[in-house]
Structures are given as structure tokens and as C-alpha cells.
């Protein structure tokens, strides 16, 4: 995993930034989010994909692309979480004074 991170650090950084931006926006976004049911399906899909990756089920290049996808997605989620949390903190500080 360390090798993948070092080798693809620029793409991962891009994913984190993208996630951060998305997380920052999501806090004030007024559109509809995915439903709870869809979220559950997506979570199940994510678990299945992670399991497939960890079990090395997919060989060769597709296996690498799957690992890369997982990593990029994980970085995106981290970025989103950081972005949303930070935006929320910023909003919380602004609201009492206004």
C-alpha cells in the first residue's frame, strides 16, 4: 500500500483536494442527497469491492486499477470528510456573531 501511495501521490493529492472541495460545498448544498437505501447499497458495494481487492481476486492490470480506485476513493472520502467538517466549524463560528 505504501508503494501505491508513493507512486501515485499526485493523483491521490488531487483526489483529496477534490473531496475537500466537495465536502466544503456539501455542507451548504441544498440539493437532494442519495437516499438512505441507496447509501446502504453503495456501502455494501464498497465492502464487496474492498473484499475483492484484499482477497486479490482480480489479477493483473484490472487488479491494480481496482486497488488504485479504492485508494483514490478513500482519499476522496477523507477529503470530503475534512472539507465538510471544516466548513461546519467555520459556519459554527460565524453564526453566533451574526
Amino acid at each position: 500500500m505504501g508503494f501505491l501511495v508513493i507512486f501515485n501521490w499526485s493523483w491521490l493529492l488531487l483526489s483529496v483536494l477534490l473531496g475537500f472541495a466537495m465536502g466544503w460545498i456539501a455542507v451548504v448544498h441544498r440539493g437532494r442527497g442519495v437516499s438512505k437505501r441507496t447509501s446502504q447499497w453503495l456501502a455494501l458495494l464498497a465492502v464487496a469491492v474492498v473484499a475483492a481487492a484484499l482477497a486479490h481476486l482480480i489479477p493483473g492490470r484490472p487488479g491494480y486499477w481496482l486497488d488504485l480506485a479504492m485508494l483514490i476513493f478513500a482519499m476522496y472520502i477523507l477529503g470530503c470528510a475534512a472539507g465538510s467538517w471544516l466548513r461546519e466549524r467555520v459556519l459554527a463560528r460565524v453564526t453566533p456573531t451574526s
Binding site: 505504501g2 508503494f3 501505491l4 507512486f7 501515485n8 493523483w11 488531487l14 483526489s15 477534490l18 473531496g19 472541495a21 466537495m22 465536502g23 460545498i25 456539501a26 455542507v27 448544498h29 440539493g31 442527497g33 442519495v34 437516499s35 447509501s39 486479490h56 489479477p59 493483473g60 492490470r61 484490472p62 487488479g63 491494480y64 486499477w65 486497488d67 488504485l68 480506485a69 483514490i72 476513493f73 476522496y76 472520502i77 470530503c80 470528510a81 465538510s84 467538517w85 461546519e88
Partner: protein
């Protein structure tokens, strides 16, 4: 934390550009990453003993193909690859090199090349054997047909290297090492080579033995070639030792009075018995030929060439048969040189003088018996006499001043008569020759010195 879950339902729009990032990353990074993994995998295997190693990388999975020399070596190579950072899976397609039973290695030499074939336990051993063959046989092409196999006996390297050295001593032949037993065949390059190989084989490592040593010694050849164009006698081949060499060189100098002698003879053991007794009369026979070759091989004397006149052929054959040692085979292939054009008596006289200035007819000391070493010179004198058939010739004998005058007078007459008889025996009419003896009365040099006396002891041919 609750907020995170709430907000996470709105994170999905970013997944679309994320998918593009992923696709780009996969597109751009896959090949460089595979190349990086392949390079580091190959580097990691650098010190591992394998043959025909091939590394193929697909994604982060490495397919490893190689021939290993032991099960441990194979396993350790796979472990090394698994420890390379970034490698996810190792597809092990390696196998053990085949085991040879019996483990046969051979080296074959012919005129132009040496071929090493059969089995070799390790690439390093193979390299060592090839290097040793190149060093031993500088200038000879070394062909590698060895394949790698398991099952070599212990100390194979030492034994095979010793055998490569022996191949250098062969003219042609083959050395086979089958498990622990050595078989040799062929012919040694030099005399003594067979013995040298037999001695070297005693140093084979423990456990190895010689099953058969059929190395033959090269024939013991002495050769002499008389070339009338370059006026050269060339001797080559072998003689038993330096004493025999000196004796043969001295005999050649006496018998070949006008020729330049080129001596390429080497001393070597292995000569047949009574070698010298066979070679000296054979050189005498060669000296009587205009052009000819003498080959002494083992116990056979073969002489071929052109005699100077008809009657010389049976004489040469007879004297060879008489003087050669018993048990030796004599082969002669003699023809007669075409007769030279007749010349005037004056020219004949000139030719006699020129020839007798180069060489002298020798006799046994104090006697009238012609020294056999003078046969070549006498044949040349006969050839000249045949070119002026109308001329009558006085054959004059002279002695030095040692001894009594009466004895010297008688000796000079007898010697002149001996020469006349020799000419008549060769087929010349007796009436053409008059034998005269002058004792010591007509010296051509001082009788006070040995050199002067030698000059005074002479036979002269005077055309009337």
C-alpha cells in the same frame, strides 16, 4: 459525527470527476509502474542462481519464469520477489533444471575447433570450462554445446577443468566424463603427449577414475627433403636425443657437400630402436638422388625421387637393403632423372673442377676404399662424365707427404683405380679412363699443416 453522515449523502457529485481522475491515473501510471516493478524484481534476483530467468509484470503481479538448480533456490527466488515493494502477487512458473542420469560431459577436438558438450551443473562452471578451453587452446575456435543439468558428481569442476587441459595436448580426439568415470580417445599432438596425459590423469579428484584411455601417440617421423632448385636439404621431425641429432647433422654435412642444410629436427622420446642405424644409410641414399624425399616413420624407411643415372637405382636399393637394420621395412620409389644435354670436353673439365672444388672424394684413412659418404659426389661426377661421351679422362690420385713415398705412390694409384672402377660399375666404358697415381709429388698446399695435407689428398679429373 451525525453531520458527517448527513453531508455524506451530498458528496456523490464529486464521484464523476473522481472517476475521470482515476481513469487518467490508471492510463498514465500503469506502464511506468510495471517497468519500475520489473526493474526492481530483476535487480532483486541478480544474486540468485537461476538460468533463463524471465520477469513479466502485469499491474502489480509478477510472473516469474526460470530454471532453478535446487528446490531451495527456487523457493528463495520466489520469496525474494514477494519481498519486492509494490509486488502484489508472484505467479511462480519456475521449474528445476532437468536432472541428468548419468551426468555426461564431453570435450571433442578436431583440427579447427573444440566442442564442449553434454551437461554442466551451473552457468558459472560452464563459463569456467569455456574460459579454460580458450586459454588452453589459444587460436582454436571453442564451441559451446553444453546444457545445464542437475546431478553432477561432487568435484565435477575440478575434474572437468583438468580434462580441458588434456584436450590441449591432443591433435584430435574426445574426452568423456560420465558420472565419475573418464574415457579418452584420439591422438596426442606431440610425442610424449600420451604419457603427459596419463600422468595428469593421476591428479583427478578423489572418486573419479579412468575407464579407458585410448590416446594414441603420433607416429615417430623423421623427414628429409632434397631440393635441387634451392640446393637445400631440409630435415624435420623427431630424433631420440641431442647426441643422435648431432650425429645425423654431421652425417648430413658429409654426405650433402653442396647443399645448404636446414635442420628443423626436434629431440623427442619414443623413437623406434636402431633409429640412427636406419636414418644414416637412408640419408646416404638420398644424397645420391637429384631430387628426393626421405620419410622414416616408426620402423619404415620410404625414399622416393630421381637417381642421376640408370645404374644408380639398383645400387641405392641394394645398399639400403644391406645397411638398414633388421626388422625395418624399406620402400623405394625411384626413377631416373632425364639425361642432361651433352657438352664439349672443355665444358666437362670445367664442370669437374667446379664440382671437386665443392666436395672431395673421401677414402678410409690409409686405404683405397671409398668412403660411402662420397657416393653422392661420385654420382654427380658420373653424371658429368656421361655428358661428354667422347672425352677420355685421366683420374689422378694424390696423397700428402706423410709416410713413405713408395706407400703414398701405391696408395694414390689404388685410390685413382678405385674411383675408375666405381665409374665403370656405373656403366661408363673402361677405355675412357686412365687411373694415375702421383703420390705426394704434386702438392697444391703446404704439407706442414693438417689443412694443407687435407688439400693435397685428392682425386683430380683431367679431360684429355
Amino acid at each position: 459525527m451525525h453531520g458527517l453522515f448527513r453531508w455524506s449523502s451530498k458528496w456523490w457529485p464529486g464521484v464523476i470527476p473522481l472517476a475521470i481522475v482515476w481513469a487518467l491515473a490508471a492510463w498514465i501510471s500503469t506502464s511506468p509502474m510495471e517497468a519500475d516493478l520489473a526493474a526492481r524484481s530483476n535487480a532483486a534476483l541478480k544474486d540468485t542462481l537461476l538460468d533463463q530467468t524471465s520477469i513479466e509484470v502485469s499491474g502489480r503481479d509478477v510472473t516469474f519464469t526460470a530454471n532453478a538448480f535446487s528446490e531451495d533456490g527456487r523457493r528463495s527466488a520466489v520469496a525474494v520477489l514477494q519481498s519486492v515493494a509494490g509486488v502484489r502477487l508472484v505467479n511462480d512458473e519456475s521449474r528445476l533444471v532437468p536432472e541428468a542420469k548419468p551426468f555426461v560431459w564431453s570435450a571433442e577436438r578436431d583440427v579447427a575447433r573444440v566442442t564442449l558438450s553434454g551437461n554442466s551443473p551451473l552457468p558459472a562452471t560452464k563459463g569456467k570450462l569455456l574460459d579454460a578451453a580458450r586459454a588452453t587452446l589459444a587460436g582454436v575456435e571453442v564451441v559451446d554445446q553444453m546444457k545445464l543439468s542437475r546431478g553432477a558428481p561432487p568435484r565435477f569442476d575440478t575434474a572437468a577443468l583438468l580434462l580441458v587441459e588434456q584436450i590441449g595436448k591432443l591433435k584430435d580426439g574426445k574426452v568423456i566424463l560420465s558420472d565419475n568415470s573418464v574415457t579418452l580417445s584420439g591422438m596426442a599432438r606431440d610425442l610424449g603427449g600420451r604419457e603427459a596425459i596419463a600422468a595428469a590423469l593421476k591428479n583427478l579428484p578423489d572418486g573419479f577414475s579412468v575407464a579407458a584411455n585410448d590416446i594414441k601417440a603420433p607416429p615417430y617421423v623423421f623427414q628429409a627433403n632434397k631440393d635441387p632448385v634451392t640446393v637445400t636439404l631440409t630435415m624435420s621431425g623427431y630424433v631420440p636425443d641431442n647426441n643422435v641429432h648431432a650425429t645425423i647433422a654431421a652425417a648430413a654435412a658429409r654426405k650433402f657437400f653442396g647443399e645448404k642444410i636446414v635442420d628443423n629436427v626436434k629431440a623427442s622420446m619414443g623413437a623406434p630402436s636402431r633409429f640412427l642405424n636406419a636414418v644414416v644409410p637412408a640419408l646416404g641414399a638420398l644424397s645420391r638422388l637429384s631430387t628426393g624425399t626421405l620419410v622414416v616413420t616408426d620402423r619404415e624407411v620410404k625414399i622416393s625421387g630421381d637417381a642421376l643415372y640408370e645404374a644408380a637405382v639398383p645400387q641405392i636399393r641394394a645398399s639400403l637393403a644391406k645397411d638398414s637394420p633388421e626388422g625395418w621395412q624399406i620402400t623405394t620409389e625411384l626413377s631416373v632423372k632425364p639425361a642432361a644435354a651433352p657438352v664439349d670436353p672443355g665444358v666437362c673439365q670445367q664442370l669437374f673442377l667446379e664440382l671437386l672444388a665443392k666436395g672431395k672424394i673421401r677414402f678410409e684413412p690409409g686405404r683405397a676404399s671409398i668412403d660411402p659418404d662420397s657416393a653422392g659426389l661420385l654420382d654427380r661426377l658420373i653424371e658429368i662424365a656421361m655428358r661428354c661421351p667422347t672425352a677420355n679422362i685421366d683420374i689422378a690420385g694424390h696423397t700428402d707427404a706423410d709416410g713413405e713415398d713408395a706407400f703414398n705412390q701405391a696408395l694414390s694409384e689404388k685410390r685413382a683405380q678405385a674411383v675408375t672402377d666405381y665409374l665403370v660399375k656405373a656403366g661408363l666404358p673402361a677405355g675412357r679412363f686412365t687411373a694415375l697415381g702421383y703420390g705426394s709429388s704434386q702438392p697444391v698446399a703446404s704439407n706442414d699443416t693438417d689443412e694443407g695435407k687435407a688439400q693435397n689428398r685428392r682425386i683430380e679429373f683431367l679431360v684429355r
